[in-house]
Symmetry: C2
Subunit: 351 residues, 2 copies
DNA sequence: CCTTTTCTTGGAAGGCCTGCCAAGGATCTC
DNA sequence: GAGATCCTTGGCAGGCCTTCCAAGAAAAGG
């Protein structure tokens, strides 16, 4: 009936204090790296800690300090972004350095339940900060309420372009511009574009970059070549089929993320179109998928781990009440040329 | 200087008790669903809780009960298994139902540091249970020590076949048998096999199933057709090249996971071999990657979410001191036929 | 009807740490 | 050299919940 115990049957702060011949409070100061402790006293305490193998009890610390030392990662359960594991890496690395743990909180979208569970997590003091992944980084009434209630939060690739909390994003527009310029340099003039979800601001930024590159190259923008996807493989497949079944065929398709690009490659495969000889296909994100496709996907790399690390840093600063240096982090993307795009050829044009 | 606060500025158990006209202890009983509370009293308490919007403070509960209500997921940081997000889903669902939160703990393998951080997590009472993903589910001295120290733990797809703690695995042998039988039914007789990491027991079980199917079909097992990979895409690519560059060509290649199968497909692509017309390629796991490849991969599905859910259930039972019903969970796999394997043809044989 | 068991509640005593305040000593200032 | 200022340490009072124990009420048993 009694629950089993583990750990902290060992030393407590009291034991360390006794061993070092100081007060609990002084030990506490040493542990937390506070000022006003003599080098000598600190030394004694450190020694005692080492000898006893003392590790502070998190629960007690949390209760006393009214902090949880927990950061919560909120993302979509069913369709997590392909870069989730990278994001986690960045967050955990940084969190660990500051003594924070990371709790994961996969949510159902549009779900009352997930709001309730998040609300509960927050009100019971279960977390010190929230990191929101798309599509949660938006100005919903719920988020607004959390923010105004003083909950530190941060977003990676937010849905809304301007949020009052720290935000980390990439140069979506420039990335799309670079990719489009690259395709143009290969001679492509009819380039299909598959848009991301309408409610992500990044989707529009990518479209924007695409348009800008066309304009700069004085290539006419054709509305018929732009179709709407939602960053899923399935939408890429469907829209790929649509683009390749239309009257005027594109010689290249720029899917605005890798998942959709994989869908396009599959659509091409179904139709017996060889990539890149007969159709160039490019993506965006440089997710794990990209180099596993055949042909390996030419795409835009985003420095996800570092992005996550930076935003975590900013969040922790905010938790500590420090004025965050950068409340809007923007990291630059880079073009990764692999094999899925090639110079436009006759066969491509004549199809 | 003072850290910001959020939440639990609201009601405490004391407030609820006052409002309901009972003692704190009685409220506690209601919250924890203990016996010996009248329906009527419980009702009063419930009402008070609802009206005050009371949520118990986790830190206090943790300190008092000497439990953390946290489960920790341990996995490899650099090369997380492709089914990680599914595992997380299963774990979180089940944990949430039991009031547990899930902390992620990506580790470096072979790293003193990760052991230290895990040890710290454990001794300071930061977690009630560990869920180990490969390659951590093994009989290392460190794990043994944790286990003997009374730390509840569980493994998914363990490296060692017999562990003293609960283990969840799939029918690796049967799955590989089924796949091989399927390939044989398509007429393949020279089937290449790419093995997983040597120190995973699952790798050998899969090889075992492969051999058994050959034997049952009275097809000679050729050692030269078995090569060693390590479940990474890169190893699949390398070994795919090796198999396809050898003197006697296989008509099909069975990569023992999807990542490696993707590598083989890429190797075939490089050589201009059409899959499945000239070479059949199959995988194992039915990871997200499988249906995104072109052609979509024929593979073996493992019910990852449910597997994770079941093992989490078992772990929580153990934490609660209940004798776990099943200490070894084995779930059955199923063949998923897509397009990457086809009947063996002349072209394949004559290559 | 009284004793024994079962149910239902309450009270006190912590869990281990940190925040706040105070106090003594050292250092500085003019 | 006396007062002001800083540094360094300690003590106490919680934080909010649970565990343990006790006690009264109700039910059961003889």
């Amino acid at each position: 009936m009694t629950p089993p115990r583990f750990g902290n049957n060992g030393a407590t702060i009291q034991d360390v204090a006794a061993k070092a011949g100081v007060s609990k409070k002084t030990v506490s100061r040493v542990i937390n790296g506070e000022d006003y402790v003599t080098e000598q006293t600190a030394q004694k305490v450190e020694t005692a800690i080492a000898e006893l193998g003392y590790v502070p009890n998190v629960s007690a610390r949390r209760l006393a300090s009214n902090r949880s030392y927990v950061l919560t990662l909120v993302y979509q359960a069913e369709e997590p972004p392909g870069w989730l594991t990278h994001v986690i890496q960045g967050i955990v690395q940084t969190s660990a350095r500051h003594g924070y743990e990371v709790v994961i909180h996969p949510c159902e979208v549009e779900e009352q339940a997930s709001q309730k569970s998040l609300q509960a997590l927050v009100t019971r003091g279960g977390t010190d900060g929230l990191i929101l992944l798309p599509p949660f980084g938006s100005k919903t009434a719920f988020n607004q309420r959390l923010f105004e209630g003083g909950m530190p939060m941060a977003s990676i690739e937010p849905s809304d372009p301007d949020l009052p909390w720290p935000v980390a994003t990439i140069t979506n527009r420039q990335g799309a511009y670079d990719m489009t310029a690259y395709l143009l340099s290969l001679g492509h003039r009819r380039i299909g574009f598959i848009l991301g979800p309408e409610d992500y601001s990044g989707s529009w930024e990518r479209l924007d970059g695409f348009k800008a590159a066309l304009e700069d190259a004085e290539v006419a923008f054709e509305k018929a070549l732009v179709v709407a996807g939602d960053y899923t493989f399935e939408s890429g497949l469907a829209q790929g089929r649509a683009l390749l079944g239309a009257a005027i065929l594109p010689t290249a398709i720029f899917a605005s993320n890798d998942e959709m690009a994989a869908g396009v490659i599959q659509a091409a495969y179904e139709l017996g179109l060889r990539v890149p000889d007969e159709l160039s296909v490019v993506g965006f994100d440089d997710s794990a998928l990209a180099c596993r496709l055949s042909p390996p996907l030419t795409t835009i790399r985003q420095p996800t781990i570092e992005l996550a690390a930076r935003v975590t840093e900013a969040l922790i600063q905010r938790i500590n009440g420090e004025e965050a240096e950068d409340t809007r982090i923007e990291m630059t993307t880079s073009l990764v040329v692999r094999d899925s795009a090639a110079t436009v050829t006759d066969s491509g044009l004549s199809m």
